[in-house]
C-alpha cells in the first residue's frame, strides 16, 4: 500500500501489513514535533508534494526494499497539507517472517524516503516560516 493522503489511518496501515507468514511487523510513524533546528515554537507544518513523482519514487524504493529483504507486505503512506504538533505525517511499515528484516527494511524505507521523495515541509513559527533543508 503506497499512497499520499490528507489523514493517516494507523489501523488501516496495520491491517494492510498483516500476513499469515509474517512473524513480525515493523511500523515507523513520523509525527510533527514542536521544535526544529534548535528553535522552539513550531506551531504547524505544511506538506507539499509533486504527487505523481512522489508516488513513483516511493514505488521504486519499495521495489528496492523487496529485492533486499523478503518482505511479505509493505506500507508507505505520507500526508500532504497542514499538520499540527503531534499529528502523524508519515507511516512506513513492513512485515516479514523474522523481526530483523522488518526493522532493517522499515528503517531503509524511511531513511530513503527522506532523501529522494519529492515532498517538502514548511515549518510555521510565531514569527516566520521556513522551508526545511532549503538553505545551507
Amino acid at each position: 500500500m503506497i499512497k499520499l493522503v490528507t489523514t493517516i489511518d494507523i489501523n488501516e496501515a496495520y491491517s494492510a501489513l498483516q500476513h499469515p507468514e509474517a512473524g513480525g511487523i515493523s511500523l515507523f510513524i513520523g509525527t510533527v514535533r514542536n521544535h526544529a533546528s534548535g528553535k522552539s515554537g513550531v506551531t504547524q507544518l505544511d506538506f507539499e508534494g509533486y504527487e505523481p513523482m512522489a508516488l513513483k519514487e516511493m514505488e521504486a524504493l519499495a521495489e528496492t526494499a523487496r529485492v533486499k529483504w523478503p518482505i511479505k507486505k509493505l506500507v508507505m503512506i505520507h500526508t500532504l497539507g497542514t499538520k499540527k504538533v503531534g499529528e502523524p505525517v508519515v507511516i512506513i511499515g513492513t512485515s516479514t517472517a523474522h523481526r530483523k528484516d522488518a526493522f532493517d527494511s522499515c528503517k531503509f524505507l524511511i531513511d530513503e524516503l527522506k532523501k529522494s521523495v519529492p515532498i517538502w515541509k514548511k515549518e510555521y513559527f510565531d514569527d516566520q516560516t521556513v522551508w526545511v533543508n532549503s538553505h545551507p
Binding site: V90, V117, P118, W120, V132, H135, P136
Partner: protein, 79 residues
C-alpha cells in the same frame, strides 16, 4: 516549455508554473539551470536544486524539449 515549481522555488519565482520564453534556447538541464540562475538568483542560494524530467530525476546533460514534463526539485524534506 513550462517548468513546474514546488516548495521554496515557488516562493522565489512567485508562481507555481514558469513558462520559458520561446526565444530562450535551453536544450539541457544545465542550460535551464544557467538561465534560471540569471533570472532568479535566489535559486542559486539553495542547498541543492535538482530537475525532474518526466517525473524522474534528470542528469545535467539530460535533453529538454516542450513535449517533456519538467520540474524543479529543491531539497526535499518529507517524513
Amino acid at each position: 516549455m513550462e517548468i513546474k515549481l514546488f516548495g521554496i522555488t515557488k516562493d522565489i519565482v512567485g508562481r507555481d508554473m514558469l513558462p520559458v520564453p520561446a526565444n530562450i534556447q535551453v536544450h539541457t538541464v544545465t542550460e535551464l539551470k544557467e538561465w534560471l540562475y540569471q533570472q532568479y538568483p535566489g535559486l542559486e542560494k539553495l542547498s541543492a536544486l535538482a530537475v525532474a524530467v518526466n517525473q524522474t530525476y534528470a542528469e545535467d546533460g539530460t535533453a529538454l524539449d516542450s513535449t517533456k514534463e519538467v520540474a524543479l526539485i529543491p531539497p526535499v524534506s518529507g517524513g
